[in-house]
Every structure is written in C-alpha cells, then in structure tokens.
Symmetry: C2
Subunit: 293 residues, 2 copies
C-alpha cells in the first residue's frame, strides 16, 4: 500500500459530507460507510479495507457520540486522536473522513430517539442503560446523512451489529449491513480503543477474556452442550485475574439474544469484564458439533 497514494478529505459539517456523497451518488459510485468513534486501530482499518474492496467511495465517520455513554462512563476521557486517525485513513485509501463536532450532530432542542426493543435489552443493554438507544439513533442519523449503499461494523460489538440490523430491517433503511471479524492482537486480546487505558500488568491480565472464550469453544467442540457447565468454566478462567469484575458472561441466541440453556445451534458466547478500571468486552460464535446419528 502506498501511503501517499491518497489523502483523505476531511468533512466536519453535514453540508460538506453531503456534497461529497451526493456527487458520488450522481456519478453512480457505490458508497461505503465505516462508523467509528476514532482512536483507530487495525480492527477499524480492516473495515476500511472491506469497504475499499467493495465500494468506490469510502466514508469513515469519526464521532465520539455523547448519547451512547452513561453518566458514569468514559465519554470525557475516551481517546481522541484525530490527526493520527486521518494519517491511518489516508494510508488505507479511505476517501473521506467525517468528523463533526457534537453541536453539528445534535441541535440543543433535539428530542427524537430510536429504540430497537428486545435485542437491545440484555447484556450491554442491561449494564449500559440507554447505550443502544444512543447507538441506534446516531447510526440512523449517519445513514441519513451519508446515505451509504453498504455500512461496515466490527463483530467485536456483536450486539451492536444486531441492533443496527434490527433497526435497518424494521425501518426499511436502504443499506446493506456487513459485519467483519474481530481483529486480535497476536496474544488473543481483541483490539479496542479502550485497550490503551490498561497498565502493562492489567494488559496481561486482560487475556482472561479471550482465554475464557477459547475455553468455551474447546468445550463445545468436545461435545459439551450444557450452557451452565460452559458458563462455570468460563467464569473460572476470568477469575484467575485477581481484580477482574464480571458484568456478564453469557451464552445467547445470536439473533434474539435470549439465553441459551443448551448449545443446540449457533450460540454467542459474550462477556464484559472490568480489569483495573477498564471495561472490556469480547465474544465468540460457538457452533455445536454435528450430531452423530
């Protein structure tokens, strides 16, 4: 890849990004959108590459959306690294970055919200009340602003992808939603903008998340199909990190997010754990062995 081959344009207003996308749409160019909160890492860049492979214009939004953070969450300290993000995007060949201020995205008298219902209620929805209302609302706004043909999301936020898919289906939004695989560090830690919060020692302890998922995958491959047994073993792996505080460890239907009692079909293993003061999430799709008849 040639880092100097392209410079990403930066749009900071809705009028600017619309001018870019309207011109592309008129020219019949397929538009891809990669919604991000910036602090870009290889996970984000894999989405940009997926968009570049399919679309003639790739728009990357960089917006730390205040409405998806709870009052005691990390909105104010969430990493903002716009200059570096723009360099990474240029190196990947993303044509346009859309990085609006909050005041550009939200009028002070705004009051409309989008609620996707059941799929947003458990797991992240339970531990981050209002989070998915904020996510659904801002993603719909971005879809309406950019009007992409395809939008790319990372499966690390598996429940978020389902929330977006449900919203798109229920509201008849004309966009294809693509979910791309989790990108991991060589030792297994799922890439996340929040990993930079971790001290070196906590960074090592954070490996219990991916190890716990790996243990669940092993058990299912060995034929274990009792969710309670798998959850207990997952918990035991997490508890090897002395300061780990578990928000949830769950085995759920990957469409409805209802709890699975038996691993009878594709099942999502998902967890949220605080290490030091950093809340990390990870997940893995489990597939039971074909039954031997």
């Amino acid at each position: 890849m040639n880092a100097s081959a392209s410079i990403s344009k930066l749009a900071t207003t809705i009028a600017q990004i619309r001018a870019e996308t309207i011109a592309a749409r008129r020219a019949g160019v397929k538009i891809g959108l990669v919604p991000t909160m910036g602090a870009l890492h290889e996970g984000h860049l894999s989405l940009v590459r997926a968009s570049k492979a399919e679309c003639g214009l790739t728009v990357v939004s960089i917006f730390v959306n205040p409405t998806q953070f709870g009052p005691n969450e990390d909105f104010s300290k969430y990493p903002r690294t716009l200059d570096n993000d723009l360099k990474l995007l240029a190196a990947c060949g993303a044509e346009v970055a859309f990085a609006p201020e909050a005041s550009e995205m939200y009028r002070s008298d705004r009051s409309t919200t989008v609620d996707v219902g059941e799929v947003a209620e458990p797991l992240e929805g339970e531990f981050r009340p209002g989070h998915f209302r904020g996510v659904a609302t801002v993603v719909l706004k971005l879809f309406n602003i950019v009007q992409p043909d395809v939008a790319f999301f990372g499966q690390k936020d598996f429940q978020q992808v389902q929330v977006v898919r449900r919203m798109v289906a229920d509201l008849n939004v004309s966009v294809d939603v693509r979910a791309c695989p989790i990108v991991r560090e060589p030792d297994g830690l799922a890439m996340s903008s929040r990993n930079r919060y971790l001290s070196p020692a906590a960074r090592r302890r954070a490996l219990v998340l991916s190890r716990s998922l790996k243990r669940a995958d092993e058990l299912v491959r060995q034929g274990q199909c009792d969710a309670a047994v798998i959850l207990a073993e997952m918990r035991a792996v997490i508890e090897t990190a002395e300061d780990a505080r578990i928000d949830y460890i769950a085995l759920v239907d990957p469409e409805t997010f209802r709890p699975a009692e038996t691993i009878a079909g594709p099942t999502l293993a998902a967890l949220a754990v605080k290490i030091e003061n950093t809340r990390l999430i990870d997940n893995c799709l489990l597939s039971p062995r074909a039954p031997i008849l």
Copy 2:
C-alpha cells in the same frame, strides 16, 4: 382535469414501489409522497395537487397503520374504500398508489420504534398514548421505502406535522416536509375520513368545533390575549352541542406545544371533541394583533 388522462399504478409490495421510485430517481425526477390512510376526501386530494404542482412523480400511500391506533380506537371500523380511492387518485393524476397489507409493512418480530419526545406528549399524545410513536415510526418507514424529495401533510393534523418535522430534523432525514391548509366543507366542518361516521343530526352538532375556533380567532382579532378567557369562550361554544365530550381545548405554542397563557405570538388553538361516538379534531393558528405603540 381529464379523468382519463392517467391511470394510477397500484403497488402493494415494497419491492414494487421501490422499483417505481428507483427508476424515477435515476431519471432525475422529483418525487412527492402523500401519506394517507385512504378513505380519501378533498383534503387528501389538495395534497396530491400540491405534489403534482411540484413533483414529477407523486406517490400516494394508502395504509391504515395499526400501530397508531389504541386498543379501544376505531382501527377495525376505519373506512377502507380502496377502489374509490384509486379512482379519485387517477382523476387527480397521482402516478402511483402504494397500498400494502399490514404484513408487508410489519414483520411479526418487529420491535423498533421512533419516539420524538416532548412535542408528541400533550394533546393527541395525552389522549392517544402511543399514537405518535406509531405515526413517527410508520412515516419514517414510508420515507425510507419511497425516499421522496418532498412529503405533503394536512394541517388538520397539526401536531402530527410537528412530530414529523421534529423527527426529520433530529434524524437528518433528507426530505422537505410541506404542510397544506385544512380543507373545510362549505359550512366549516374540517374534512375528515371520520366524518362519515356521523349521523345527520350529529353532523350538524359537529359544527361546534369550527365555530369554537372561529370564536377564538374573533376574540384574538379584537385584542383579547388572555388564554383563560378565550378557552372559556371556546368551551361555551362546544357545550352548545348537548352530547359533546371534550378531550381537550388548548392554546399552545405551535412549535413546542407548550400551553400559552397569553397570546403574545402565533398560537395554535386545537381541540378534540367526541360527538356521538365519533372523535373529531380541528385547529386554527391564531395571530395576535400587532401591538399599538
């Protein structure tokens, strides 16, 4: 107007209506949408004519939306007159009617809703809980399906227009919303599909709604600016109909729908009254006299 000049196409599936609108959009044709629940009358037809005057393709949706009716409301008996509606639309020159079944619009597992907040809470929102959530959600679905450049609504449903405007602004929907004046019968009754529920005697008593608004307008023109005085006079007019049951008589800010205590600027007079068992609404925008300085 030449009734045989055009025959409206009828689309009953989302795929059919999308095929019509995509072709028009590619050809650079401006698309107008007139969302209706059918049982068309001159009020609706005035919206069709407004769309025809501005747009190259006019789509009229005819959909009695179940999610905007409360459990004790008139969903099941709401008039369905599709054959006559299509004749009226053809005579007006509407190019396409979109009349889907409920199962086409709503998957059985749908769960996403749109809530516009404060502007949807008083008046109709108070007496029809959930009504505007149903309206906002179905209108956004129709916008996403048809992707019109302009959408036309009647000011008889003044609060509905504000709900739609608020949703469009807050969610960055790319559509211009036009509100067209109330169309009235010669004696003043606002046209409504529900007027056909009225017995001849109730039809005469129903005139108290428009008379009440006319009285408010007179008082304001005479310089009265005390909302309590105007509301009392409006109520007295309504109560001349012996069986009138008032849901609300209100003077509110036409943007925020907060109650007005003094008529100091444009103010909406709005009311909902049951005559016999038919719930009727009407409204009028009041403008205070310019102050004499």
